[in-house]
């Protein structure tokens, strides 16, 4: 008998980084690493589970910027080039470590995985991973959600309701274009929710969103079942709250699984460890050492003297942690089912990039959890929030409270002394966009292109990643320049339109550089 439901939610997101004006661009590596270490292995996992007849479920958000990058021809080409380079490095490493018994197994592992990643990317999914996720959604195994159009942190943008509507509407349109259906769920950027947002979601056909625990526990009506049942907002949109216990076991750097000594170390990378001339062709062309993704050591312990990573031991640790995780969810479900008198839903949301990229064995762990949950017991059932709503259409009604999943639970990460200067400009740009959208409801072709490009620049400037990076203190320059660049481009277009001096060469250049949302209609701001 089912005593509880477990809903894994993976949030896959990267900011839109695409620089056609440069042959190679450092930050595009964020995307390449995510592809090799997280998104491709996730699809590989789904393939394996389907092949073996495992009844698995999970929910994931593919944010519009990530979807756009995955389907962009230039980035697909560049990623393949990057992958071939890594395979080349791996081949050299196979030769170098031929007689090295300590490192040979890990090098062989990378050699196998990189070649497989190339095959999955190029041949299995024809360079378009979104097609892969769409495939598994059509099989009913995964539920793909959308997110804000460019992951703008909505509580801080709400002074312009049009800007909020545009973030949601543009995201839904792009999702439909690539997934073939409107999204039923949304991962609100940074889980940033404020009362009233649910109505905009409902207008766009979105039926549920994920919120942090305190959004539910601080709702305007006391939640009878805590975070173990969703709340319906008065609009009808459902809010699912995060379960702390399951989050802790995976997220926690101290007590969580990823800290196990047997797991691969994230920081030691051959891009820094090997001789400069040897790795030179595989790092940044300017000679900047960067991570290559080939990491040969295990965590080992609180020491600088790391031991070689053993893929076999890493896999064993993942299997044992999967068993532990499931055991804990079984006990948790038993207890909660007994107390509340119905099966609880345990929502376990994570950043997708935590798996594979940061916690290298994370996807193996997820794979083991899915298999064990499906085959080894009957207490806990995997479910998506949408399935839960179909089976349990009656839920408590309340307004969740304003919240986010950022440090301290609200907006401080995105609004503090390091990044608060951006809001003056983001808000003004949103007001200006609405102003022009209302002035020009039926423009000629050139003006329409310019206005659409303004909407793209505004959306790109609103990405919460820039404020997040400014707050984090590393790689800040890029985030600052990106924010300023989009605001500058937006402002120039605005002034050109106001002064009747539109420069179509400039518009064309921007369309080439910032080509996200090809079907955007600026009138969404009207």
């Amino acid at each position: 008998m089912t005593k509880g439901y477990l809903s894994f939610v993976l949030h896959a997101h990267l900011p839109y980084v695409r620089h056609p004006e440069h042959e190679e661009f450092l930050e595009e590596q964020w995307f390449f690493e995510g592809m090799t270490e997280t998104y491709i292995p996730l699809l590989d996992m789904c393939d394996g589970l389907t092949r073996d007849g495992i009844d698995f479920r999970f929910t994931m958000s593919l944010t519009p910027p990530l979807m756009s990058m995955m389907t962009d021809g230039l980035l697909q080409e560049r990623y393949l080039r990057h992958l071939w380079k890594m395979i080349d490095l791996c081949n050299k490493e196979m030769h170098r470590t031929h007689h090295d018994r300590a490192f040979r197994p890990v090098v062989e592992m990378y050699h196998h995985k990189l070649n497989r990643a190339r095959w999955i990317f190029e041949e299995r999914w024809g360079r378009n991973l979104v097609a892969g996720f769409r495939h598994f959604q059509q099989l009913g195994k995964i539920e793909v959600m959308t997110c804000g159009a460019t992951h703008g942190f909505l509580p801080l943008l709400r002074v312009s309701p049009e800007a909020i509507r545009a973030q949601i509407r543009v995201a839904c349109d792009l999702h439909e274009r690539h997934m073939g259906m409107r999204p039923r769920g949304i991962w609100l950027p940074e889980c940033g929710y404020f009362p009233g947002l649910d109505e905009i979601l409902w207008e766009n056909g979105i039926r549920f969103f994920i919120a942090d625990s305190h959004a539910i526990l601080h709702a305007d009506s006391r939640p009878k079942y805590g975070v173990y049942a969703p709340l319906f907002c008065p609009s009808g949109t459902a809010a699912f709250g995060r379960d702390y216990e399951s989050s802790k076991q995976v997220w926690s750097a101290k007590e969580g699984y990823p800290g196990d000594y047997r797991y691969r170390d994230f920081y030691r990378d051959v891009g820094f460890d090997l001789d400069f001339d040897y790795v030179r062709p595989y790092i940044h062309p300017d000679g900047i050492r960067v991570m290559t993704g080939l990491k040969y050591y295990r965590i080992t312990g609180p020491t600088d003297h790391k031991q070689p990573y053993s893929p076999h031991e890493g896999l064993e640790a993942a299997a044992s942690h999967a068993g532990n995780f499931l055991f804990n969810r079984q006990r948790q479900s038993e207890f909660l089912c007994d107390v509340i008198g119905k099966p609880p839903i345990i929502v376990a949301p994570y950043d997708a990039e935590l798996f594979g990229h940061w916690w290298y064995e994370g996807i193996d762990w997820l794979n083991f959890v899915m298999r064990k949950t499906s085959c080894d017991q009957n207490d806990v059932k995997l479910i998506t929030p949408w399935e839960y709503l179909c089976w349990h259409p009656k839920n408590q009604m309340a307004h969740p409270s304003e919240s986010s999943w950022g440090n301290k639970g609200y907006a401080e990460v995105w609004c503090n002394g390091t990044n608060d200067w951006i809001y003056r400009h983001l808000h003004e740009a949103a007001f200006r966009m609405t102003e022009l959208a209302r002035i020009y409801p039926t423009p000629d072709d050139n003006l329409r292109r310019a206005l659409n490009q303004m909407a793209r620049e505004l959306l790109l400037a609103q990405s919460s990643d820039w404020a997040f990076i400014m707050n984090s203190g590393t790689m800040v320059e890029y985030a600052v320049k990106r924010t300023k660049e989009h605001i500058w481009r937006f402002t120039k277009l605005y002034e050109d339109i106001k002064n009747f001096s539109l420069d179509m060469n400039f518009v064309g250049e921007l369309e080439w550089k910032d080509n996200i949302f090809p079907d955007i209609d600026y009138r969404v701001y009207a």
Binding site: H19, L26, E27, E33, D212, H214, L217, H218, S221, R222, Y225, G226, F232, Y244, K248, W251, S252, A253, E255, D265, R268, F272, V290, M291, I299, P302, R331, E334, L336, V339, I340, Y350, D351, E353, L389, K394, N395, Q396, M397, S401, E402, S403, N407, K408, Y410, A411, E412, C415, N416, G417, R424, H427, D465, S472, M475, E477, Y478, K481, E485, R489
Partner: protein, 357 residues
Amino acid sequence: MARAKPAKKNKKAPAAGKRAAKKSKPAVSRNKRKAATEKRMTTSKPTSKKTSTKKRSFAAGKSAAVKTLEKAVKARKPAIAALKKAVVSAAKSVRAYAKGQKKAIKVKEAKTIEEIVARPVSENAEIAAGEATKFNIGVVHNGAAMAAQEIPYEYGKDRVVLLVVDPRFVFTYWEVRSDSLDEARRRLGGDGKLTLRFYDITSTGVPEQSHYWDVEVFDRLGNWYLRLSHPDQLLCLDIGVKNHAGHFHCIGRSNVMRLPPQSLAKPGPIKWMVVSPDGGKLISDIEEYTDADMALLKKILGPYFYDLLMRGRLASIAGSSVEAVFYDVSLLRGELENLGASPGGSPGGSPWSAARA
């Protein structure tokens, strides 16, 4: 289970964490500090002064004992008695030092549950690394390949905007045109100062009939963080000019913001709603919130989370920094155990492990 993070992380994380915590605290400019407000931000300082004084005195005691020993050796007296004395004295000093250390540490530690739950999260938290690592490619500085673009300094509008940072903290920025400022001053007789007037409109909904407080500011373009005494209030503000006589001329009014609540809602009826897969909605029934519901919630949450929730600490230590939640919970559990209370929870305070036991 093994618990350490990679060594490099161990070395770097605390510093980075502190730095992040420091940076994440919204800065209040020097000018802003000058102006006294009735709802001024208050920060408690750690009681480290006492600790360091004690440490110094114990260290002095220890070194005195060592000096006595050295003296005895130098004087080459029939030394046994003196040496014995010195050794005993040194031992005493070391014991006293150890005792003092213990005391000193105790001074640092919070003594009550209230202190634990009131402790700022930045002292406890080691921020979970996950979210930031996707941007980590081993490079600290970047962006050199991009040209720096200039953005407008001002937009030529009279505007003031209010944003919520957390349940007790708001951020506002404003811009006032020079001619608007001159005009306002002229109307007030020339001596007016630029002022932010905050209104708590929770009960009235109308600024003109609400309690307000003023903050004098100096620049036409600026921003301000304001710490508030309680959450869940409705706020807005005006920017304007105020003269010595107290007359205020408004130049612009902000949007209205409701600060989020910080604790469990007051008991009230529970409404149930049915939403069918095709979008049909129906409020099916309404029931009273009873003591049994409260007991149920307590059971679901377990004693520690329940305690944090009731003290309004759940949200302020929540978010993706799950570390912080569990650090607080483990401290709380330790304190309860020391106080002889029955904790009844597993590591991390989950109620279901207690049930299993």
